[in-house]
């Protein structure tokens, strides 16, 4: 059997290449994603390890919100920890150090320069590995040393003065020195490091004078680091964390690692779609194989091969194809992953780690490539084993009919899915939407074979010419095969329509809210701040001055931060001036009183959290101990400033930045917007991270962020489309091979070559457009259900992305034409005489 399988494999090179390509692409994405992640992580780790070379052991406070220690601000430690640690036998020296994200220098142009890494503020210490390249160490409270990389970026020299934003608003410092780190310009590539005098660092970076973010320990000679770590931990108790330098480096590498893992996750998402589409393609390819080989298989059966042997022969073919494709896919993925790592590394300045064969990536790639192929080939293999020996003698292949059981199961699943979607939409249950979406999708996949014929019947009117009519009929000829092709096209279109529907609705909601509910003409925010970094800050004194400006009716700043409320992570808000905010957002108490000393919650949030006035909540903010706060007011939904609002005093101690990160400004009647805007901009000179925007800019900025997500998803669509094109080509080429006799007859009775081409192109376009239409309908349907379910989460407007949907359908038609080009050319060039004999 092995020899027979191999021979049959080689004799069908085209089929081999087409089914292999989809596996190659799927494996390539998986491998590229994993190699990229592996390479970047090793590069970041190496960079941070070298930065923490000087640290042997280190004590830090445990992060109140848990999780990634580097994602939350450090817990301030005081002198008592240093004293306690010093007394532990085996500790040669213990010194308090400050190192925290959020020291932002203001450049010569009055702007905060872009950062490729963290922007840390540290306490100057000879032991930290810093070497002065020029100047001297900071001694006075208004002196700083900056790293050489930052000096080069900003053009600052020793003796210059510069503003720096810390937990305090903009203060002016004199640059007294420029530091290098073991010969490098940056401690870690891309990081901006500002060193303060030890006495002031704690106050500026941690909000508390004389506090430290860590206590670094020098281990006495002859003492084992591991033993000492346990000893120190024993003395300090569970509240504090003792870690080695390597552990500290790994923690510090956290944000960089999480960037690389979010890139990896996007790539893995792409590969997931590639794998899904590829699975349908492989199933299609192998079911065609089996149909084509029916005679050969029947002959084998007639010659005495049993069912198991026939099944194994098909699976063996799948195995061989998948192993070869996985090797090629992995090799390509390796190249792409390395190239992407170099490109990304190049942009952050981190030196890229050397080549290493990533075992995990290798295993996962082969598991995916081989596993998906074998699973997809199972059904065709089973069908192959059912070929009766007598089929060897039969003339024509029986025409395929959609299986009844399959259709019924599909219809039931589809019905249940739709029911779940409707219920989820009505009840705001996002989980039900997920389940319903998957059920609907699987239902459609099972139903498609039964849908193909009626669906092609619908476009009868569009295909009047004989070639077009024949093409339409051919598309529905093998419903199973057509369905697999249609579904592989449907997947990509469905996903992108789903995401577009949700995002378009969200965008429309934002637009509506800003236009109808936001009574502020000017909005102050930073359009460049990314997530995870220290939030931008607005100088409170500037806001204070703004309120005195003529033409300003009200101005209110606010901040938000992730916190744990009664054990659940959620966003909490704080307003710097409740009166002003209440005027701007028409905040109206339903119960309790609007005030500055207690928590305020809008009605629907209160409902979902089960809160009433007088309830006490336990709130753990990113800094400080857990506090118990009483709910003082429930206010009517504003659509603008809804949420769990803690008193401003809590933001001062518990938020990363004690200053507002955004602000709303309401103009007085008769004030000129441009005039007020200019004056406010001037007031914000000391808050260079933020700018004044009007409403339409706010809407545009929001739209831009969403458009980027849509673009990423469209790349995904493109990938899915490319793979689906392979499926269409596969189906067409093989149908043509099957119908050579027919093509010969048509040519003999007078069909021109161009008409043959038109016939094949029509068949292709019918399949692709059907796939796109199903995808658009399914995607928009699930998207709408999700939007309805998100109603409570703030997506109140429903918007269907009609233009995008139209584009996807048209794009699919073009894909259909492109996919048909080569097969149609091949069909048209068939020699009439050879073809007519090949029945």
């Amino acid at each position: 059997m092995l020899r027979a399988t191999l021979k049959s494999l080689l004799s069908r090179k085209l089929r081999l290449v087409l089914s292999a390509l989809s596996i190659v692409l799927a494996v390539m994405f998986v491998a590229a994603a994993l190699v990229l992640q592996d390479t970047l992580n090793r590069s970041f780790d190496a960079a941070y390890r070298s930065a923490f070379d000087g640290v042997q052991l280190q004590v830090i406070g445990s992060s109140p919100l848990g999780g990634d220690a580097s994602a939350t601000p450090p817990v301030p430690l005081d002198e008592t920890v240093v004293t306690a640690v010093s007394k532990v036998p085996g500790v040669a020296a213990a010194r308090g150090e400050v190192r925290a994200d959020g020291a932002r220098i203001i450049g010569r142009d009055g702007k905060v320069p872009d950062a490729d890494g963290q922007r840390v503020g540290v306490s100057w210490s000879d032991a930290s590995g810093a070497t002065l390249k020029e100047g001297r160490a900071p001694a006075a409270a208004d002196e700083i040393v900056i790293n050489a990389g930052l000096a080069e970026k900003t053009g600052y020299r020793v003796g210059d003065t510069a503003g720096v934003l810390t937990t305090r608003p903009n203060q002016t410092f004199t640059i007294v020195g420029i530091a290098t780190y073991a010969g490098r310009d940056d401690l870690v590539n891309g990081e901006q490091t500002i060193s303060f005098a030890p006495r002031t660092a704690g106050e500026l970076m941690l909000g508390k004078a004389g506090s430290y973010s860590s206590v670094d320990i020098s281990v006495a000679a002859g003492t084992d680091t591991g033993t000492l770590k346990a000893d120190v931990q024993g003395v300090l108790g569970r509240e504090l964390v003792v870690r080695t330098g390597d552990e500290a480096a790994d923690d510090a590498a956290g944000p960089a690692r999480s960037t690389s893992s979010s890139i990896t996750r996007i790539l893995l998402g792409f590969s997931g779609v590639a794998v899904l589409v590829g699975a349908f393609l492989i199933a299609n390819a192998f079911s065609i194989v089996v149909t084509q080989r029916t005679k050969e298989l029947a002959l084998l059966r007639a010659l005495g091969a049993n069912r198991g042997q026939v099944r194994r022969s098909v699976l063996l073919e799948a195995l061989i194809v998948s192993v070869l494709s996985s090797i090629v896919g992995f090799a390509l993925g390796l190249l792409i992953g390395r190239a992407a790592a170099s490109a990304l590394g190049g942009s952050t300045g981190v030196p890229i780690a050397g080549f290493r064969l990533p075992v995990a990536a290798l295993l996962v790639s082969f598991l995916v490539g081989i596993g998906v192929t074998l699973i997809s080939a199972l059904v065709p293999a089973r069908r192959a084993s059912r070929v009766a020996p007598v089929a060897a003698m039969r003339q024509a292949l029986p025409t395929e009919r959609p299986g009844k059981v399959r259709t019924i199961v599909g219809a039931v699943l589809f019905g249940l899915g739709v029911a779940a979607l409707v219920a989820g939409a009505a009840g705001g249950a996002v989980g039900a939407i997920g389940v319903g979406g998957v059920a609907t999708f699987v239902g459609i996949v099972l139903l498609t074979p039964a849908l193909v014929r009626p669906a092609t019947g619908l476009i009868r009117g569009l295909t009047r010419s004989t070639p077009a009519r024949l093409g339409r009929l051919n598309a529905a000829r093998n419903p199973q095969r057509a369905a697999l092709t249609v579904v592989s096209l449907m997947i990509g279109v469905m996903l992108v329509t789903l995401v577009s529907t949700i995002l378009t609705s969200y965008r429309s909601t934002v637009t509506q809210t800003v236009q109808d509910n936001l009574n502020a003409e000017l909005i102050i925010y930073s359009s460049s701040a990314g997530p995870g970094t220290t939030p931008p800050s607005i100088d409170p004194s500037a806001l204070q001055k703004m309120r005195q400006e003529p033409g300003v009716a009200a101005a209110a700043g606010f901040s938000y931060e992730t916190a744990r409320v009664d054990g659940k992570d959620q966003l909490v808000y704080a307003w710097d001036d409740v009166d002003q905010m209440s005027r701007i957002a028409s905040v109206r108490a339903l119960s309790g009183t609007i005030g500055t000393d207690r928590v305020m919650v809008n009605e629907s949030t209160a409902k979902s959290m089960g809160l009433a006035v007088g309830d006490r909540t336990n709130v753990q903010l990113v800094r400080g101990p857990e506090v118990q706060l009483e709910v003082g007011a429930i206010f009517a939904d504003t659509r603008v400033v809804d949420g769990f609002v803690v008193p401003w005093s809590q933001a001062g101690t518990g938020f990363r930045s004690p200053q507002p990160s955004q602000a709303y400004v309401q103009l007085a009647d008769g004030a000129t917007q441009a005039d007020v805007r200019n004056r406010i901009s001037t007031l914000l000179a000391g808050s260079p991270e933020v700018d004044v925007h009007d409403r339409s800019e706010l809407i545009d900025d929001n739209a831009q962020a969403l458009n980027m997500i849509i673009s990423i998803v469209q790349v995904l669509l493109a990938i899915a489309m490319i793979i689906a094109i392979l499926g269409v080509v596969n189906t067409l080429v093989l149908s043509i091979l099957e119908r050579v006799g027919e093509l010969g007859m048509l040519r003999a009775v007078g069909m021109y070559r161009r008409e043959v081409r038109r016939m094949i192109v029509t068949e292709s376009v019918v399949m692709s457009v059907l796939g796109a239409v199903l995808g658009v309908v399914l995607g928009a349907g699930v998207g709408l259900a999700a939007v309805r379910a998100f109603n409570d989460q703030g997506i109140t407007d429903v918007a269907i992305p009609w233009p995008l949907m139209l584009v996807y359908v048209v794009a699919s038609a073009i894909v259909g034409v492109l996919a048909a080009l080569a097969p149609a050319g091949r069909a048209a060039k068939l020699d009439v005489l050879t073809a007519v004999r090949a029945v």
């Binding site: 024509a396 025409t399 004989t466 070639p467 024949l470 009929l473 051919n474 529905a476 000829r477 006799g741 027919e742 010969g744 007859m745 048509l746 040519r747 003999a748 009775v749 007078g750 069909m751 021109y752 070559r753 008409e755 009439v832 005489l833 007519v836 029945v839």
Partner: protein
């Protein structure tokens, strides 16, 4: 040159396959005139060149030397497009394997050549053909729902409806049992007698040939015999005689 009596003509036609040592001449100077309104059978053993001759006459295969005319049109030097148009407008085909489209009904299959050519059918004529082939109750059926004999009658109707100058039938009974085969042959004979249709049939079956008005014998790419209005016995005698001749040639 062109005779008003000729539906198709071959003049000194040579057809050579391969080149050099492997060169095989399938046709060696065949000259043949297919008369209008007659039923001509071309007979010969396999490899005699009978199918090649038909393909050359029908514009499906190019010749190496000589002339081929269908009606007054010379095929030499025609492009693929011109040949296609010629087949579409002047030639009909009946194949051994019927070659019907499984996606179309019997009626749609019958109308296919007219549809491809963008011509509308002459309703009376269509009805007459359908009644002649006896398929009226089966018009809405698809080929898979028809017997072999019925399928071949659909194919005959498909060839007859456009009223081509000549119909080429390639072993039309080769895939049929003798009873269905006889029905199809009678139908072809009837179309010649009643409608004046010109038909050229390639066959190796003496019984099938006996339905023809004229039988042309081919061997080794040459015409070796030509009978008019033969019965089956005469055809068989001729075959035997030709076999004996060729055996004698080989022996000599």
């Amino acid at each position: 040159m062109s005779s008003p009596e000729a539906a198709a003509r071959a003049v000194d036609v040579w057809k050579v396959y391969g080149s050099g040592e492997t060169e095989v001449a399938a046709l060696r100077g065949v000259t043949l005139t297919i008369e209008r309104g007659r039923f001509t059978a071309i007979m010969g053993p396999s490899g005699s060149g009978k199918s090649t001759l038909m393909h050359c006459l029908a514009g499906l295969d190019a010749i190496d030397k000589g002339e081929v005319h269908v009606g007054d049109a010379a095929l030499a030097g025609m492009s693929d497009k011109q040949l296609t148009a010629l087949r579409r407008d002047r030639v009909g085909f009946i194949f051994q394997q019927f070659n019907l489209l499984p996606t179309l009904t019997a009626e749609e299959n019958i109308l296919l050549p007219l549809n491809i050519a963008g011509r509308s059918p002459d309703r009376d004529w269509l009805d007459r053909i359908i009644d002649t082939v006896g398929l009226r109750p089966r018009l809405g059926h698809r080929p898979t729902e028809l017997s072999g004999g019925q399928q071949q009658r659909v194919a005959c109707a498909r060839a007859l409806v456009p009223r081509p100058q000549v119909i080429f039938a390639d072993e039309p009974t080769g895939n049929l049992d003798s009873q269905s085969g006889a029905g199809v042959l009678a139908l072809l004979q009837q179309s010649v007698r009643e409608f004046g249709q010109t038909i050229v049939m390639v066959t190796h079956d003496a019984r099938a040939a006996s339905y023809a008005d004229r039988v042309v014998f081919l061997a080794d790419g040459r015409i070796v015999g030509d009978l008019t209005d033969p019965d089956e016995g005469v055809v068989l005698d001729t075959i035997r005689k030709l076999d004996a001749d060729s055996a004698a040639v080989e022996a000599a």
